[in-house]
């Protein structure tokens, strides 16, 4: 295939895609309409099950099976990263050295660290009540932990973060989501159907049936996954070196 033919094929494909996109965009509903056919139905379903945050109701009740898929994607991709970034035979591990950190950076990081971790946990815990949830809170809590790398150094971070425990936590949280789904099945309903637990009082922490439990499972899974992911990236960036090179 010559360059000319290749360009022709590309132009043909691009033109087709552009035509389809334009045709699809012309049929889109108007921007920022106040009413939406799915919106009213989703709000109605979430209020019927005493879940204050409709997004949480969609994620963990109406579309709980989709969330299982998303969670599995994250789990599998972190697993792949762990396998790819392991220490290979021609690499050796160099002990990280103590490093000096500028005083204002240290002060700021150590001041913000507890606040950020608590914020992350709060966002997980209130997922069914206010904006946020397991995914958002998990990422916040996990990245907040790494302020220790900025405020102190890598050795301090490795001391408070046993990677093995977080790997086990990641797997356990993924399993617990599945187990909760199976528990719904055993209780006589469909897989992941929000029926076995009482719905509780609207707008309280224990409301929403299985929503807070599934939310917590996702929160733990995401937090552990992000910690493991960053741990292996940091490992590569700080500790693991190729044989024969020693950069100070």
């Amino acid at each position: 295939m010559t360059r000319r033919v290749r360009l022709l094929v590309l132009a043909l494909g691009g033109a087709g895609l552009a035509a389809l996109l334009v045709a699809a965009c012309l049929d889109l509903p108007g921007f920022g309409r106040a009413r939406h056919p799915y919106g009213t139905r989703a709000v109605h379903a979430s209020l019927a099950r005493h879940t204050a945050n409709t997004i949480a109701a969609v994620n963990f009740d109406q579309r709980a099976f989709d969330t299982l898929g998303e969670m599995t994607i994250l789990f599998a991709s972190v697993l792949g990263t762990v396998v790819l970034l392991r220490q290979s035979r021609d690499e050796k591990r160099a002990a990280p050295e103590a490093e000096r950190v500028a005083a204002p950076v240290r002060r700021y990081a150590l001041l913000v660290l507890p606040v950020a971790v608590v914020t992350g946990l709060y966002i997980v815990a209130h997922g069914q009540l206010s904006p946020g949830g397991g995914f958002q809170g998990g990422v916040v809590a996990a990245t907040a932990l790494h302020l220790l790398y900025l405020g102190a150094d890598y050795r301090a971070l490795t001391r408070v973060r046993p990677v093995g425990a977080f790997e086990i936590g990641d797997a356990l949280a993924t399993c617990s989501y599945l187990v909760l789904g199976l528990a719904c099945l055993l209780a006589g309903a469909a897989f992941l159907a929000n029926t076995p637990l009482p719905y509780g009082t609207f707008d309280t922490l224990a409301s929403g049936g299985t929503v807070p439990l599934l939310n917590a499972a996702v929160g733990m899974e995401v937090a552990c996954a992000v910690v493991v992911l960053l741990a292996h990236f940091l490992d590569q960036a700080v500790e693991i070196e190729e044989e024969g090179s020693r950069s100070g």
């Binding site: 920022g32 904006p131 958002q136 990422v139 960053l230 990236f233 020693r246």
Partner: protein
């Protein structure tokens, strides 16, 4: 689309995204990407999607740039190791690199 706040945030996102493409140095690009994440988070919040905004804030403006910076640092270190020079690669995380 007639709300001026939406128009302003859309323009901000477009400017930040263009800057992220235009900047060539990967470390600076990671920083611009983080700004873009922040702009997108503001846009989602303005469009009344605070849940998505929060995800964008956590992933787009903190996690992704951090992973990028770590990857750049690792690649830079490898290049330095094979050529045998000891100078810094001159790409960002200055304090830490200088302290080594």
């Amino acid at each position: 689309m007639d709300d001026p706040l939406i128009v302003v945030t859309l323009l901000l996102v477009a400017a930040a995204a263009t800057a992220a493409v235009a900047v060539r140095d990967p470390v600076r690009q990671a920083l611009v990407l983080s700004v873009l994440g922040l702009c997108l988070a503001v846009l989602f919040t303005v469009l009344q999607a605070p849940d998505v905004g929060l995800s964008q804030l956590a992933v787009g403006s903190a996690l992704t740039p951090l992973l990028l910076m770590l990857a750049v640092r690792r690649v830079g270190r490898r290049a330095k190791g094979t050529t045998g020079t000891t100078g810094t690669t001159g790409t960002g995380d200055g304090e830490r690199e200088k302290a080594r």
